[in-house]
């Protein structure tokens, strides 16, 4: 079922207001390669915690007034500057009320692809703020992926050692 942006916002808000996560199919390429068209995105409510720099959030775009999922590249007191990882220009600033929730999980073809949601989000936000991310996004993706997989393997190895 294909929902309009307004319908998606209404349903997402209703679910997040209940303190629960909302999953939906991402459409578009503005966050590629971190979120691609057809990925399953899980948006969760902030539940009182502060919005963090570099987080990928679902919000109402000040330009199109439609639902968008982009990254916070700058915090300005109570307003946030947002930009897609795969677009050269920022969306503009939005107030906290326009931010519906944060992206907690990204699934691609049944596998978790949460790259860009961890501590590396700050680096991505910095590069985007400087205008450098657009040129290096695919290089960064290729560099970060093996690094993350390596760290995951070490973590799993440590875990299995402890279980022995």
């Amino acid at each position: 079922m294909s929902l309009s942006s307004a319908a998606l916002v209404e349903l997402m808000t209703a679910v997040l207001d209940k303190g629960r996560s909302f999953r939906f199919l991402a459409k578009g390429f503005s966050m590629s390669p971190f979120i691609k068209d057809g990925d399953v995105v899980t948006v969760s409510p902030f539940l009182g915690r502060k919005v963090r720099l570099g987080e990928v959030v679902a919000f109402i775009s000040p330009q199109t007034h439609a639902l968008a999922v982009h990254r916070i590249i700058r915090k300005q007191q109570t307003r946030f500057l947002l930009q897609g990882d795969n677009v050269p220009e920022a969306d503009g600033t939005v107030s906290a009320e326009k931010i519906l929730g944060f992206v907690e999980r990204v699934e691609r073809q049944g596998r978790d692809v949460n790259l860009g949601l961890g501590p590396e989000r700050r680096v991505i936000a910095f590069l985007n703020r400087k205008g450098w991310l657009f040129q290096v996004r695919y290089v960064l993706w290729r560099l970060l992926r093996p690094l993350r997989d390596g760290l995951r393997r070490i973590a799993n190895h440590d875990l299995s050692d402890k279980e022995r």
Binding site: M1, S2, L3, S4, A6, A7, L8, E10, L11, M12, A14, V15, K18, R20, S21, F22, R23, F24, L25, V40, T42
Partner: protein
């Protein structure tokens, strides 16, 4: 085993769903899956379904719902009862509807 619907009992929407009338359609999202726009996870009700759903408030029995719908619609009572119990059973099976506590 699936629970059978009881026409003397009252039913209401589960706390584990969000239902919204959007763009002329009643859309139900189960919070357990939480999947917003995936075809197999969203439920929509047609006009008859919406009329029945609006009366499932947890206070009225299904029998009372049938009687109210009979006043609103010019249709045989057997047909209305079949629609009401059929939908209620389907929604109960999907855990969208729960039996209201008897007071």
């Amino acid at each position: 085993m699936e629970k059978k619907i009881d026409i003397e009992a009252a039913y209401k929407a589960s706390d584990e769903v969000v239902a919204r009338e959007i763009e002329g359609e009643l859309i139900i999202v189960p919070l357990t899956s939480g999947i917003g726009d995936m075809e197999d996870e969203l439920f929509t009700l047609n006009e008859t379904g919406r009329a029945i759903w609006s009366k499932l408030d947890g206070n009225k029995s299904l029998k009372a719902v049938v009687a109210e719908l009979q006043e609103d619609y010019d249709a045989p009572v057997e047909e209305i009862e079949k629609d009401v119990t059929g939908l209620a059973q389907e929604l109960l099976n999907r855990r969208i509807l729960v039996e209201a506590a008897k007071t």
